[in-house]
Amino acid sequence: MAASTDITAPPTAQHGFVAHSHGNAPGDPVPVQSRAGWLSSFDPADFPVPNGREENWRFTPLARLRGLHAGAEASGAPSAVTIDAADGVRTELVDRGDARLGKVGVPEDRAAAQAWASFTKALVVTVPAELDASAPTTVTVEGQGGLGYAHVLVVAEHHSRGIVVLDHRGSATVSANVEIDVADGADLTVVSIQDWADDAVHLSAQRAVVGRDAKLRHVVVSLGGDVVRISPTASFSGPGGEVELVGLYFADAGQHLEHRLFVDHAVPNCTSNVVYKGALQGESAHTVWIGDVLIRAAAEGTQTYELNRNLVLTDGARADSVPNLEIETGEIVGAGHASATGRFDDEQLFYLQARGITEAQARRLVVRGFFNELIQKIGVPQIEERLNAAIEAELERSMALVGAGA
């Protein structure tokens, strides 16, 4: 008896280990299509207004987007932006005509094209060539209740090293593009924290191009907001590039937190590693994770792995997880993905309680443990502290929700 059923960690292991599909299931609204063939444009008119049946919108509650996907005009008080820049890092507010903008990729959905067409001022953060900025540059966006469109460009010039944090708080309805340009030999960490108030709506397309022998660590932390939909995409402009996409999310009752990732390997000898972990609690908490990886024919020597894990803490929550790997060349080092969604493990709870630890504390330990590995990966102490505090706050809510126990 009492065999430990560790459903939070099934033996997922490597790709191909269990039967799974790489395309659309029968009955899905859109036929199988290569990720490479997606429409991209700066002009919102090129995209029909989504109706929810499209592959890339089918999980998103469109009715709660307040028109961000359908041409809503900016209104109300704009978000207040404060910047705390590391020594040597340049930050500027520029007009939309600035020649540096719009160079990193092209919007791939209506909301991103709309955001491009609608923003008035863009924030440009530049880590100058060969600067080693170990302190983070923090951009705090404090929502003031209005609806708006935003644009951010982060440039890490060649052989620089820097950390840029976009910290979103308050109430706002915002759609944004974030361009991330990592030049040859640069090492950049970008952290996007969504710690919004309960009523915020946030769409953000975060596109990165990583140069020769350059490294990008992209971290997404989604905790607050009514609807948050972050779409990080990464591609490479030279061999030897390395991308690490890390994500942590914690959905409460009624929240919709969606992360749509795309890593486009079109250049040889690049590496990508994706780890997203989420916890869900409360009625109608919903998370969506889409992980698309495309290894094009030219991308020999590619190494890629993506992992998504979800921990469902209470009844009534739903986690969707769709890894998708397309491989057009066999000359690669490795490619794999794993996805696992499990409920809170009662055997873990029993084990900890049998050592005198109260239920509330045991739940905290397990959830903290679940995220711990990820938080350690981030490697920026200030961010780690902030995340630990945020997770503690979420756990406080969790305990109130679970009610009973200690």
């Binding site: 008896m1 029993f350 005198g356 239920e359 200690a406």
Partner: protein
Amino acid sequence: MSVLEIRDLHVSVETEQGAKEILRGVTLTVRAGETHAIMGPNGSGKSTLAYSIAGHPKYTVTSGTVTLDGEDVLAMSVDERARAGLFLAMQYPVEIPGVTNSNFLRTAKTAIDGEAPKLRTWVKDVRSAMEGLKMDSSFAERNVNEGFSGGEKKRNEILQMELLKPRIAILDETDSGLDVDALKVVSEGVNRVLAGGEVGALLITHYTRILRYIQPDFVHVFVDGRIVEQGGPELADRLEAEGYDRFTTPATTGA
């Protein structure tokens, strides 16, 4: 001196066919300083007894009482039972990803004692207990039971028993899956805990071999959800020689 008293305990478990009674009237008293061995064939309900006392939610007590020094154990939550002085060394210790063993041990010790242990003595206690169990110091910083071999998990259980200092310890098939060397190391750890004479132990086992290293004062034969025979250590020797056949197949001979 602590006393665990089990009186006419009936326990059932939910199955697809409805509630199934596993324990059918168990009566047993374990006093501090006593070591009781519960021996029986697979499926006899030995482990159910252990987990019912610890409070596993899978089991429903339908009648009977369990008290520790007169306190109603069955009214307590799982963690309250542990804080009252009960300890269960599990047959299948659970992995807790992302939680280091040292964090877990300190958290448990703080919960049991009601205050954080003094840092200097605690670190020393952990280190010497680990050395005694021949556990590499790296086990402190590894996640709880994660990637541990079967033997390492059992050592980790006994490590917890040594550090948490229960009043009554229940060891559920602690010998299963151990080679002789590991069995000796684990048994020595148990004996260190029992040596003071202040801990009562309930040793659940299928085989007699652990009883060569841990000397029981009483042996109880457990069959079909109840104790069918009791005796001293000599009963274990007889079981070693004869097996359980005479208890399980009274009408026929052989298996």
